[in-house]
Amino acid sequence: MAILEIRNVSRRYADLSAVDEVSFSVEAGEFFTLLGPSGCGKTTLLRMIAGFEAPDAGQILLDGVDLADTPPEKRPVHTVFQSYALFPHMTVRDNIAFPLKMAKKPEAEIRRRVQEALEQVHLSDKSSHFPHELSGGQKQRVALARGLVNQPRLLLLDEPLGALDAKLREEMRGELIDLQREVGVTFVFVTHSQQEALALSHRIAVMNRGRVEQLDEPSRLYGYPANRFVADFIGDINLMEAEVTEASQGHLRLRVPGLGEVMAPPVLDARAGEKGVLALRPEQARISAHAQTAELKNHFHGTVRGFLYLGDVTVYTVELDNGISMDALLANSAPGRAKFFDIGDDVFIAWRHDAGLFLRE
C-alpha cells in the first residue's frame, strides 16, 4: 500500500494557484522527488505534507489516514530544511536528541540512538560541537541525523544540497543514497536540479505551475519526456518545430522547417498534418567529417559554429544548411575519432530513424 497519498490537492495564494489539483502516491521505502523550477509549487506541496500549510482542497493521507486534523508536531513526518535550521544554542548531540526528547523516550534509549545516528553520519567526534563550529557538509549531516533519529514514516527534504558547493554536493549525493538505503525511511525530496533528481530518485514528479507534468522513473523521464516542458527541463535537448507529413505503423515522417524531412519513431494516434516538436538529445546526434552510411536515415550537412569542451565530452553547435542550429555531443574517448572539430569545419550530423521523439505541444 502507498505510504503517502496526495489526492486532488490544491492551494491558492490570492489569485495565484501554487498547487493545482495534484494527485500522486508514494510507496514505502521509496526515494521520491518533486522536481521543478522555482515557483512551481513543489515547496508548497512539501509544506502541506509537513503540516505547515493546509490544502484549500483535496486530501493528504499517510498510511491511509487523512492528516487534515493533525498538527505538524503530531505528524510522524520530519523535515530537513534548506537552511538546516539547526538549533544554534544546542550541541550536535542535543540537536539530534531533540526529536527523541519530544517523543519522551527514556534517557538510555536517547543516548543509544543519538550515538547510532552520529555514527551513521560519521560525526561521532563532533558530538559536543555547536552548529556554528561545523562546515556546511557537517551541518547537513546533523540535519539529516536529526530528521531520521526518531524513525519518521516520511523524511521530507527541502533542497537540502542547495547551500553546498558543487564538489560537496556530489559527495553528499552519494551519501544520501547510501543513507536512505540503510535506514529504509521513505524520502520525499524537493529540488530544482534535474541532475540531483535523476541521480537520487526512484521516481520523479516533474512539476510546473502547480501541476505535475509527468511522473516516472528517471530513465523514462529522460528517454520519453511526455511533453515539451519535461523534455526541455530534464537534460539538454534539441527542440525543433515539426509537422507530421506521414504517419504509419513503423515510423513518422516529419517536416522540420529549417531542416528538411526527418524520420522519427511512431507516436500513438499520430495523424498527418499534426503539429508539434521534434526532440532529439545531443548524444543521439552523431557528428562526423564524412557522409555516413545509409543505415542512418536522418542525414544533414552543416558547419560548426561553436563548441563547449566539458572534458569527458564536447558539445558542438552546428548550423545546418537549411538554417536551423543543433547541438551534437561527441565523447572525447570515442575510438577512431578522426579529429577534434573547429569552428567553421564542414560536418555531417546524422541520427537513427528510431531516435528522436515527436511531442505534441
Binding site: F52, P71, E73, H78, A85, F87, F98, R146, G147, N150
Partner: protein
C-alpha cells in the same frame, strides 16, 4: 634548465613581495590604533580620572562648608588621610540595610520589566516589517517628554488612589521609566530569530510551550541580559523616583549618596557610598560572567 630558471625567478619575486605585504599589515595595525585612540583617551580621562578622584576623596576629611578638608594641617582642624568614612559606613547597620533594599528594588524592577517587556517585544518582532519601526518609535516616545514631568504625572495618578509615598509607588515609577530599556534590546534579539528554527522544532514534535522554553527563551537570553543590565544598574543609583513617589522608609542608595553631597556636605562619605556601590555592581557583573562561563562550559 628552463624549469630551474623560472623557479629561482619565482623565489626572487616572493622575497620582494612578502616584506611589502608585511609592511602593509603593520600599517593596518597602526591605523587601527590611531582610529581607536581618541575614544580610548576620552574614556580614560573622563571616566577613569573622576573614579580615581572619588577613591581619593573617600579617604579624606569633609571640608567645613562641603568639599574636602585640606591634606595638610591648618589651624588644628582635621586634615590628611583617614578611614573615618569607611568606619562610618561599616559601623552603621542602616547603610547595609539600605544597600540590600536597593538591590531588592532593582531586582524586582528588573524582573517586572522583563515579564512586561517580553510579550511586547515579541509582538513587535512578529509584526509585519513595515509596522515595526512605528511600534519601536511608540516605545521610546515617552523619552520625548521630560523625565521629572513624567514622574510628577504619576503623583497625579497615584495620589487620589491613596497609593502615593509607598514602596509600591516607587516600584511603579521605576518600572514605568525603565521599561523601554528592556523592550529595545529584547526586541532587537527576538527580531533576529530565524523563524525556521521554530518550524523545525514543531516539525520534530515540540508543542507551542516547548518551542518557547527550548528555543525562543534560551536564544533570547542575551537580550534579557543586556536589558537587565540597562535596567538594574540605573535603578540602583536612581534617587528622584524614591524621593518623589516613595515614603520616608523608601530611600535607596541613590538618595543616600545625593544627601551626602547636597544636604550633609560630607563628600568623603558620599564618595565611599558611591565606591561601595560601584564595587557591588562590578562584583555582581563578575559573578554573572562567571556563571555564564560555567554554564557554557557544562554545555560544551
Amino acid at each position: 634548465m628552463r624549469g630551474c630558471f623560472s623557479v629561482s625567478e619565482g623565489n626572487l619575486a616572493k622575497r620582494a613581495i612578502v616584506p611589502l605585504s608585511r609592511l602593509r599589515e603593520r600599517a593596518g595595525e597602526r591605523a587601527k590604533w590611531l582610529v581607536s585612540l581618541p575614544p580610548t583617551l576620552f574614556l580614560l580621562v573622563f571616566f577613569l580620572a573622576p573614579s580615581l578622584i572619588m577613591v581619593a576623596a573617600s579617604f579624606r576629611y569633609p571640608g567645613e562648608f562641603g568639599g574636602l578638608a585640606p591634606l595638610f594641617a591648618v589651624s588644628g582642624r582635621e586634615s590628611g588621610l583617614t578611614l573615618e568614612a569607611y568606619r562610618f559606613f561599616f559601623g552603621d547597620f542602616t547603610y547595609l540595610e539600605i544597600f540590600l533594599r536597593s538591590f531588592a528594588v532593582a531586582g524586582l524592577t528588573t524582573l517586572i520589566c522583563t515579564l512586561m517587556a517580553y510579550p511586547l517585544a515579541w509582538l513587535i518582532a512578529r509584526s509585519p516589517k513595515k509596522h515595526r519601526d512605528l511600534m519601536v518609535l511608540l516605545v521610546i516616545l515617552p523619552f520625548a517628554s521630560n523625565f521629572l514631568i513624567r514622574v510628577y504625572a504619576w503623583i497625579i495618578i497615584l495620589g487620589p488612589l491613596n497609593l502615593l509615598y509607598s514602596s509600591f509607588a516607587v516600584i511603579v515609577g521605576m518600572v514605568y521609566v525603565h521599561l523601554p530599556f528592556m523592550v529595545l534590546p529584547l526586541y532587537t534579539n527576538l527580531e533576529k530569530h530565524d523563524p525556521a528554527l521554530l518550524e523545525a522544532a514543531q516539525d520534530l514534535g515540540a508543542n507551542a510551550w516547548t518551542r518557547f522554553w527550548r528555543i525562543t527563551f534560551p536564544l533570547s537570553l542575551p537580550g534579557i541580559f543586556s536589558g537587565a543590565a540597562l535596567v538594574f544598574i540605573p535603578v540602583l543609583g536612581m534617587f528622584a523616583i524614591p524621593e518623589l513617589l516613595g515614603g520616608t522608609g523608601d530611600i535607596l542608595i541613590g538618595n543616600l549618596i545625593k544627601e551626602q553631597f547636597l544636604d550633609n556636605r560630607d563628600w568623603p562619605l558620599g564618595s565611599t557610598l558611591s565606591l561601595m556601590l560601584t564595587v557591588a555592581v562590578l562584583g555582581l557583573a563578575a559573578l554573572a560572567a562567571w556563571a555564564g562561563r560555567t554554564r557554557r562550559g557544562r554545555a560544551g
